[in-house]
C-alpha cells in the first residue's frame, strides 16, 4: 500500500513532466469530471465518504469544509493551496510539488470546478524557490495542453492557477495570514469569524487546503471515496505521507496507510541511527507534545491513536530523538523558533513566546531558578487559547509536553547547573 495515492510515479525519471504524468493515468479524473459533467454535490459526497482529513495539521474533514463554500454565490471565488510548509519536521509538500506537481494541479482544478471557483493560488514556502519554479513550469505545461486556463478541455469553463512565492514567515502557513500575504500585506492572521468560506481572499468566498489534501482528490474522484477510505482506517481515510527526520538512518518521506504501526514506520526509515536507542518522538511537527519512546512504540500512525496518547498527528512530521538528546536544549531551540516567528499581533503570544524562550534558555545555561518550572507552566497556560491564531498554542504545547514527560531533566539542569544527559 506504500506510495498508492501521491508518490505512485515517484520512481519514474522526470516524474514531474506532464507527458509522464499522463502516462500514469494523470488528468483522467479531471477528464471524467468534465466528460460526465459530474455534479459538484456528487464529488463532495465522495470526498466525505473518503474520510479525507486536512493534511495541513488540523485534520479537519475536507468534504465538510467543501460543503461550507457558497458555490452559487455570484462573482469571484477562490481555491487556495497551502504549500507554506515551515513547521519544523515537515517536508512532504515540497516533494509533492517537486515530484508530482501535476497531481496537485489536477486536484486544484477539480476543487475549483466543485467549489465554483474562478481562480486558484498556490502559496509556496520561501526557501524552496526551485520547487516554485518547477510548479510554474508545470502550470505552463497544463495551460498549453488546455487542461488549465480558458475553456478547459472544451467545456466552456475557465479556471486558472497561479503560484505565489512566500519570503520567510512561518505564520503565513496559518490560513488567514496566508490570505493577507497573497494580498501583499504582512502576514498577520485574521480574526474569525468571518471564516474564509464567506470572507476570504480579497473578501471573496475562499477554500484553503493543504497541498497533500488537494493532491489526494484525483485519486478519490477516479477510484471513489470508499477505496480511498479503505487505504486507511475509519475516520482516518487514505494513505498519509510521513516526514521522518532526526536520528534515523534513512530520513525522508514515507507514504503509507493511515493506522500503520509507528514501529513499522521507524523500520522503513532505517531504524534509529546506528547503535543508538530511541528516547522520544515528536510525532506531528514541532508544535505538538513530545511522546516518550515506550508510549510511541505501541501507537499507530493516525489522528485518533496519537490523540489518545496526548499528542497530535499534525502534518505527519515525525522527529526522532535518540538517548543523546538533552530535552532542555531541544526545547530551547524550539522555543526560540516560536519567539522569532510570532507575528506580534496578540500580546499573549508576542510576550509569552519571549518569556518561554528566555526562561528555557537560562535553565539550559545553568542559570535556572527554583520557580522556573512553575513559571513555564504558567506562561504556557496563559498563552493557550488566548490568541487569534494557533501559533500561540503551537508555542505552548511543546513546553507542556516536555514538562509533563521530562520534568526531571529540567529540574536537574536548574539544581545541578549541568545536563543530566551529557553530564556537562
Amino acid at each position: 500500500m506504500a506510495n498508492e495515492v501521491i508518490f505512485h510515479s515517484i520512481h519514474l525519471p522526470e516524474s514531474w513532466k506532464l507527458e509522464n504524468y499522463l502516462k500514469t493515468g494523470g488528468y483522467d479524473a479531471l477528464k471524467k469530471v468534465i466528460a460526465e459533467k459530474i455534479p459538484a454535490e456528487e464529488i463532495i459526497a465522495q470526498v466525505k465518504t473518503s474520510a479525507l482529513r486536512g493534511r495541513g495539521g488540523a485534520g479537519f474533514p475536507t468534504g465538510l469544509k467543501w460543503s461550507f463554500m457558497p458555490r452559487q454565490f455570484p462573482g469571484d471565488k477562490y481555491v487556495v493551496c497551502n504549500t507554506d510548509e515551515g513547521e519544523p519536521g515537515t517536508f512532504k509538500d515540497k516533494d509533492i510539488v517537486r515530484f508530482n506537481p501535476h497531481q496537485l494541479i489536477e486536484g486544484m482544478i477539480i476543487a475549483g470546478y466543485t467549489l465554483g471557483a474562478t481562480a486558484g493560488y498556490n502559496y509556496i514556502h520561501g526557501e524552496i524557490f526551485e520547487c516554485y519554479e518547477r510548479f510554474e513550469a508545470a502550470l505552463d505545461e497544463a495551460r498549453a495542453a488546455n487542461l488549465l486556463g480558458k475553456n478547459i478541455l472544451g467545456s466552456g469553463w475557465d479556471f486558472d492557477i497561479h503560484a505565489h512565492h512566500g519570503y520567510g514567515a512561518y505564520v503565513c502557513g496559518e490560513e488567514t495570514a496566508l490570505l493577507e500575504s497573497i494580498e501583499g500585506k504582512k502576514g498577520q492572521p485574521r480574526f474569525k469569524p468571518p471564516f474564509p468560506a464567506s470572507f476570504g481572499l480579497y473578501g471573496k468566498p475562499t477554500t484553503i487546503n493543504n497541498t497533500e489534501t488537494l493532491a489526494s482528490i484525483p485519486y478519490i474522484v477516479k477510484h471513489g471515496g470508499q477505496k480511498f477510505l479503505e487505504l486507511g482506517k475509519p475516520n482516518n481515510g487514505g494513505t498519509k505521507i510521513f516526514s521522518v527526520s532526526g536520528h534515523v538512518n534513512k530520513p525522508g518521506n514515507y507514504e503509507i496507510g493511515m493506522g500503520t504501526p509507528f514501529k513499522d514506520l521507524l523500520e522503513m526509515a532505517g531504524g534509529v541511527r546506528d547503535g543508538h536507542k530511541l528516547k522520544a518522538v515528536i510525532p506531528g511537527g514541532s508544535s505538538v507534545p513530545v511522546v516518550p519512546a515506550e508510549i510511541m512504540m505501541d501507537l499507530t500512525m493516525d489522528y485518533d491513536s496519537i490523540a489518545k496518547a496526548g499528542s497530535m498527528l499534525g502534518a505527519g512530521s515525525v522527529i526522532v530523538m535518540d538517548e543523546t538528546v538533552c530535552m532542555v536544549k531541544a526545547l530551547e531551540r524550539l522555543s526560540y523558533f516560536y519567539f522569532e516567528e510570532s507575528c506580534g499581533q496578540c500580546t499573549p503570544c508576542r510576550e509569552g513566546t519571549g518569556w518561554l524562550y528566555r526562561v528555557v534558555q537560562r535553565i539550559e545555561h545553568g542559570e535556572g531558578r527554583q520557580e522556573d518550572l512553575d513559571l513555564l507552566d504558567s506562561v504556557a497556560g496563559n498563552i493557550m487559547g488566548r490568541t487569534i491564531c494557533a501559533l500561540g498554542d503551537a508555542a505552548a504545547m511543546p513546553v507542556q509536553g516536555m514538562l509533563k514527560h521530562y520534568r526531571d531533566e529540567f529540574e536537574y539542569h536548574s539544581k545541578h547547573k549541568k545536563c543530566m544527559v551529557s553530564g556537562v
Binding site: D76, E85, G86, E87, P88, G89, T90, F91, D93, K94, A119, Y121, H125, G126, E127, I128, F129, E130, H162, A163, H164, H165, G166, Y167, G168, A169, Y170, S181, I182, E183, G184, K185, K186, G187, Y202, S243, V244, S245, G246, H247, P251, G252, N253, S286, S317, I319, V320, M321, V325, A330, R333, L334, F337, E340, E341, C343
Partner: protein
C-alpha cells in the same frame, strides 16, 4: 531604478492577480528588486511602491516583516544555514562551526572581501535532507558534509 528585465518580471507577477490588486505583487516585486540590487535600500523599496501604485508604507511593512529580505547590504553570496531542531539533530551545529572557521566570520557578518555573509534561519521545509543551506535565498544545498561545503564554496566565484 530597476532594469527593464526586472520590470518585465514584475509585470508578469502583477498579471497573476485580479485588476486593481497590484499590491499582491509586492512580495515578488521586492524579491526581484533584491535579486537585481543585492539588498533593499530605502529608495529601492520606495521605487517598488511607486511602480505598483501603493503607499510606500505598504511596501515597507512587507520588506520588514518577511525574513528573506535584506535591509542592509550583504556579501555577494549570502549563505543561510537552517539551525532548527531537525537540522540540529542531523548535524547543523558542525556545519555552522565548519563554515565559521573556514570563512572566519560569525552569524550576520560578512567576510572582509565582501564575498560571503553568513546567516542562520528557521525551518526551510526540507528537514529530510538536513543539514542544509541556501545560497542567496534561492539555491538550496542539502546533506552537507565538510567535503561538500568545500566544493560549494569553491564553486562560488
Amino acid at each position: 531604478m530597476l532594469s527593464s528585465e526586472s520590470l518585465i518580471q514584475i509585470d508578469r507577477e502583477v498579471a497573476k492577480y485580479p485588476p486593481n490588486n497590484k499590491q499582491s505583487a509586492v512580495m515578488s516585486a521586492l524579491r526581484i528588486a533584491q535579486i537585481e540590487k543585492g539588498w533593499l535600500a530605502p529608495e529601492t523599496i520606495e521605487f517598488v511602491a511607486t511602480y505598483l501604485e501603493i503607499p510606500a508604507i505598504a511596501a515597507w511593512e512587507v520588506a520588514t516583516f518577511y525574513n528573506m529580505y535584506e535591509l542592509k547590504p550583504v556579501g555577494k553570496y549570502k549563505l543561510t544555514v537552517c539551525t532548527n531542531l531537525p537540522c540540529s539533530l542531523m548535524g547543523a551545529q558542525s556545519v555552522v562551526e565548519y563554515l565559521q572557521d573556514k570563512l572566519g566570520i560569525g552569524f550576520n557578518e560578512t567576510t572582509s572581501d565582501g564575498k560571503f555573509t553568513l546567516k542562520m534561519s528557521e525551518c526551510m521545509g526540507s528537514c529530510g535532507e538536513g543539514p542544509l543551506l541556501t545560497i542567496n535565498n534561492h539555491k538550496m544545498r542539502v546533506q552537507l558534509t565538510p567535503a561538500k561545503i568545500d566544493e560549494i564554496l569553491a564553486g562560488l566565484e
